[in-house]
């Protein structure tokens, strides 16, 4: 055997490989590089086809380099297989490397190396064995694992430490691929714990961890090893300096961390195991040097273990204190992980974490965005009734300078906290206003109705609130949510604003023109969204009953917007105009102060008609009217086709879009102004309805009552009455109308008319006549009386009340 005066420096480099690398690197453009690589690959391909020329490993190495640059190299797969089977170590080495880089379990070629691996696992040379083990652990498929598992188990038991440690990690890979094989390795894993070699110990601990995480039987079994593990750990912590494994004064931190992790898994939910490791954990927590990262890595793992097992409270406090100390560390990595850990336990160990609130809040000012984010999460979790005032100061300060990606979270977190712990209503309103001024664009949609609801509930602060909002509006109209709330308040409490006497704010003389100017600015500004302009318009309208001198100005604003391009604003303006003209006598009542708004669970506002608590809310009532026609109505209309002069189908669609806003469903973007308009329809004065009898026979009568709903829509109420002395049953009505008129029959109240008029049957019919044709209706009445069926048809040509 040749004697080498071999030093620790690198062995001689592969010249052909290095030449190629140089050539590639000297290419000045991407195109040139591609050219070089194409040439090289062609040469490599040619070489692969040739007989063994001693340069095979160099060629494959070149291909692997090219592959790393991102170029395709699949044509080298078979070469890897050939090289692995070679008897030359240099070729095996590169071959296995190639297999790990080019082959994975999805490639067919990977199966071809199974045999080589099998052979090499029992090679006489441990470095060859090592190659096989490494490759198996890297890309072994489930099949290969099943095939080679017994061999690995053998190596786990009888080989030197160099091979044992690799076999252990191979076993780990096998178990991950084929769970059932865990059983096979359990005994060997257990015995490995008595080894002294750190590499083997480490591998054993990893293997046992894997087994315990996969099966609860294994977990039970390995719990018995807790005393052994504690011993090993103690040895590492207390023993003297061991140069082989020392890292900055810590003896084998990698092994320590793995041991702590395994202890955590074993101690979880188990008192006995947790007790057995209590002292050790306390020892590690107090003795580990925390001046370097490596020490902190061990401390960190210790803390995680303490907090996860059933540790005694003193130890838990110790662990949380370590985290608290971490928060003060100069190293931001340490601060970051302290935060993440505290976040995980803020629910369970709330008081312990509260002790470090000051430091956490300071971290809101950290330079690092990740630390800031964590500090925000934690701070919000730590807000309580006792610290709400001071915490909110810090959070609002944070909000004014925080990075944009955190604003939404911060704003919403502040709202939630304010809602839960507000010490006073004024404080609550002030806080929300502050947020809207600072970050109004980042808050959720529900904020506006929620705030409005809060304001209406706080009647003692109406004056204060409207003053503050007015001032905010004057300085900035870009934050939509703020502007919306401000407009609403000004509209609602404008009289308080104009009175000018509010104790809590500085006196400010506000005249009617000022207020209207402010609202008009919002109306005209291109920054205002449609919803915002809607708020402003409604507010302007509401002021018409709260101011005295400038009502004409309001009238003209409202009439201008009657021809606004925006449909929403136009509709409002038109209706407000109507309120000025035809319904002026109602204007004061309609625009009255809103009552306290009830809040339903979704945070939407549910408006109740003023002074009419019993009546159901108009919009929801209308919603049912818009629902799809009932099946029986469909049948009825079809049957009537032959009655009509025209034979076309009657459309079943709900009333056309142009009809009254009563038919529009209540959306989430509802402003109080909208509710007001919805009430308008309900309060419309109707002259006492005249009932017209359209059918009468033997005591059974049918009357109709008509009500005009809008320009083209009307409701006809049909009422059946029985004044005879025999019962009437199966009383049904069918109706037909001219082609262009839309008809919808609602369900009748019943179908029996007892004798003597004890009860009646009513049925509502909705008609829509957009083309304003001459309205006629044919009604077929059918019922049973005295055992016989009666069927009659009547035609109605004139409708009273239209």
């Amino acid at each position: 055997m040749l004697q080498h005066s071999y030093t620790h420096t690198a062995m001689s480099p592969s010249v052909p490989l290095q030449e190629m690398i140089r050539a590639i690197r000297s290419a000045r453009t991407q195109c040139e590089e591609r050219g070089v690589i194409q040439r090289e690959c062609a040469a490599i391909r040619a070489q692969f086809r040739q007989a063994d020329n001693g340069g095979r490993s160099h060629n494959l190495a070149k291909l692997l380099y090219v592959h790393m640059l991102g170029y395709p190299a699949h044509f080298g797969q078979m070469e890897c297989v050939r090289m692995i089977a070679s008897s030359r170590y240099s070729e095996k080495r590169v071959g296995y490397l190639g297999a790990m880089m080019l082959l994975d379990e999805k490639q067919d070629a990977s199966l071809l190396i199974t045999n080589s691996i099998k052979n090499d696992l029992s090679h006489s040379n441990q470095y060859v064995q090592s190659l096989a083990l490494c490759t198996l652990a890297c890309m072994g498929s489930a099949e290969m694992c099943r095939d080679l598992a017994p061999e690995i188990d053998r190596l786990l038991r009888a080989s030197n430490s160099y091979i044992k440690k690799k076999a252990a990690l191979c076993a780990v890979h096998i178990v991950r691929k084929v769970h059932e094989l865990g059983e096979l390795f359990a005994p060997a894993a257990r015995s490995l714990l008595s080894e002294k070699n750190h590499g083997v110990l480490h591998g054993a601990v990893v293997l046992i961890t894997e087994l315990c995480e996969r099966s609860s039987e294994s977990l039970e079994r390995f719990r018995k090893t807790v005393p052994d593990l504690v011993q090993i750990m103690k040895g590492l912590v207390i023993s003297g300096y061991s140069p082989e494994h020392d890292v900055a004064g810590i003896s084998d931190p990698f092994l320590q961390v793995r041991l702590l992790r395994l202890l955590r898994i074993l101690g979880r939910n188990n008192e006995t195991a947790s007790d057995a490791m209590n002292d050790l954990l306390a020892q590690v927590a107090t003795n580990t040097d925390s001046t370097k990262t490596v020490g902190n890595a061990v401390l960190y793992e210790t803390v995680l273990t303490v907090l996860d097992i059933k540790s005694e409270s003193g130890l838990r406090v110790l662990a949380v204190n370590i985290l608290g100390r971490f928060l003060l560390n100069n190293d931001r990595n340490i601060r970051y992980i302290a935060m993440t850990s505290l976040q995980k336990i803020v629910g369970t160990d709330h008081n312990a974490v509260q002790r470090h609130r000051g430091t956490i809040v300071d971290c809101l000012k950290d330079q690092d965005a990740s630390v800031k984010r964590r500090a925000l999460d934690l701070s919000l979790a730590l807000v309580s009734a006792s610290n709400i005032r001071s915490m909110m100061k810090e959070l609002l300060l944070f909000l004014s300078s925080c990075p944009p990606e955190l604003r939404s979270q911060a704003a919403n977190g502040i709202f939630t906290a304010a809602e839960r712990y507000a010490p006073s209503k004024r404080w609550h309103i002030d806080t929300i206003l502050h947020v809207l001024i600072t970050a109004g664009g980042d808050v959720r949609d529900e904020t506006v109705p929620n705030l409005i609801q809060l304001i209406t509930n706080t009647s003692e602060l109406h004056c204060y609130t409207v003053h503050k909002l007015y001032r905010a509006l004057l300085s900035d109209i870009s934050q939509q949510s703020l502007v919306q709330v401000a407009c609403w308040c000004i509209g609602e409490y404008g009289d308080l604003l104009l009175r000018g006497d509010c104790q809590e704010v500085e006196p400010m003389q506000v005249c009617e023109d000022d207020v209207l100017d402010a609202l008009e600015t919002v109306l005209q500004s291109h920054m205002s969204s449609t919803a915002t302009r809607g708020f402003a318009l409604t507010a302007t309208m509401k002021l018409s009953t709260r101011i005295t001198d400038n009502v004409d100005r309001i009238r003209s604003i409202v009439s201008i917007y009657g021809s606004c391009i925006d449909l929403e604003l136009q509709q409002r303006a038109v209706e407000y105009n109507a309120l000025f003209k035809k319904y002026d006598h109602m204007r004061a009542a309609v625009l009255e102060r809103m009552p306290v708004i009830e809040r339903n669970s979704s945070g939407l506002i549910n408006g109740d008609p003023t002074g009419e608590p019993v009546k159901e809310v108009q919009p929801s009532k209308v919603k049912t009217e818009v629902s799809l026609p009932l099946p029986q109505a469909a049948d009825q209309t079809c049957d009537l086709l032959d009655l009509l002069s025209s034979s076309e189908q009657q459309p079943q669609s709900p009333p056309a879009a142009g009809s009254s806003i009563l038919t529009q469903p209540l959306g989430t973007d509802c402003s109080a102004g909208r509710d007001l308009l919805d009430l308008l329809g309900g309060l419309e004065p109707t002259p006492p309805p005249t009932a017209v009898t359209v059918y009468e026979k033997d005591g059974v009568t049918l009357t109709i009552v008509c009500e005009k709903q809008s320009d083209s829509a009307m409701t006809v109420t049909l009422t059946g009455f029985n004044s005879s002395d025999c019962d009437v049953s199966s009383f049904t009505l069918q109706a037909a109308v001219p082609k262009s008129v839309q008809l919808h029959m609602k369900a009748p109240s019943g179908d029996s008319l007892p004798a003597g008029g004890a009860a009646k049957v009513t049925q509502v019919v909705l008609l829509n006549n957009p083309n304003k044709v001459n309205l006629k209706m044919r009604i077929r009445v059918s019922y049973s009386c005295r055992g016989s069926t009666v069927q009659e048809t009547v035609q109605v040509d004139s409708f009273p009340g239209l």
Binding site: H4, M68, G70, Y89, Y162, R176, F254, I337, D368, S370
Partner: protein, 160 residues
């Protein structure tokens, strides 16, 4: 339970210009996926501000990165793993390279990339730490090199 759960998912080395110098994947993955991950990692890491911490959250993994001279080391670990220890893993690998090459620099890794892999494969295996002693890893590499050298010399000598 995931069968792909292991300590480390992948290790990437790349230059300040984003050129890949080493890629080790500890779980099987499509080439397309690998390329995407490389793109994502280089973009994320290279755009980090100077005084930020070395940890990032990416999908369900934690990314630990550290710059040594002109090379970025980027290690992806499972979310329950110890980030501080991951930094130590990176540092240990750098130390091993340094011992082998003697004041290692990026060029060493470029021109001797296969050695960098051999060293890595003596330190980590299957996404876990294989050997915790620096000296043992170094000795193993030297012995493997010697085996290679010896056999090659032996093979190239004329038979007498």
């Amino acid at each position: 339970m995931l069968c792909l759960l292991r300590q480390m998912r992948f290790l990437l080395l790349f230059s300040r210009q984003g050129r890949l110098r080493l890629q080790k994947w500890f779980t099987p993955m499509m080439d397309r996926e690998k390329k995407k991950i490389i793109r994502d990692m280089t973009t994320m890491v290279l755009s980090r501000q100077p005084r930020t911490c070395n940890f990032m959250q990416w999908k369900d993994l934690k990314i630990i990165y550290k710059r040594y001279a002109s090379l970025y080391f980027c290690l992806a670990i499972e979310s329950q793993e110890n980030e501080l220890l991951a930094l130590e893993v990176i540092h240990r690998y750098v130390e091993l390279l340094d011992k082998y090459f003697g004041n290692v620099c990026e060029l060493d890794i470029i021109f001797n990339f296969e050695k960098a892999y051999f060293i890595l494969d003596e330190f980590l295996m299957g996404g876990e730490i294989q050997e915790t002693s620096k000296q043992i890893v170094n000795r193993s590499i030297d012995a493997s090199d010697m085996l290679q050298e010896t056999l090659e010399e032996y093979m190239s000598k004329p038979a007498f």
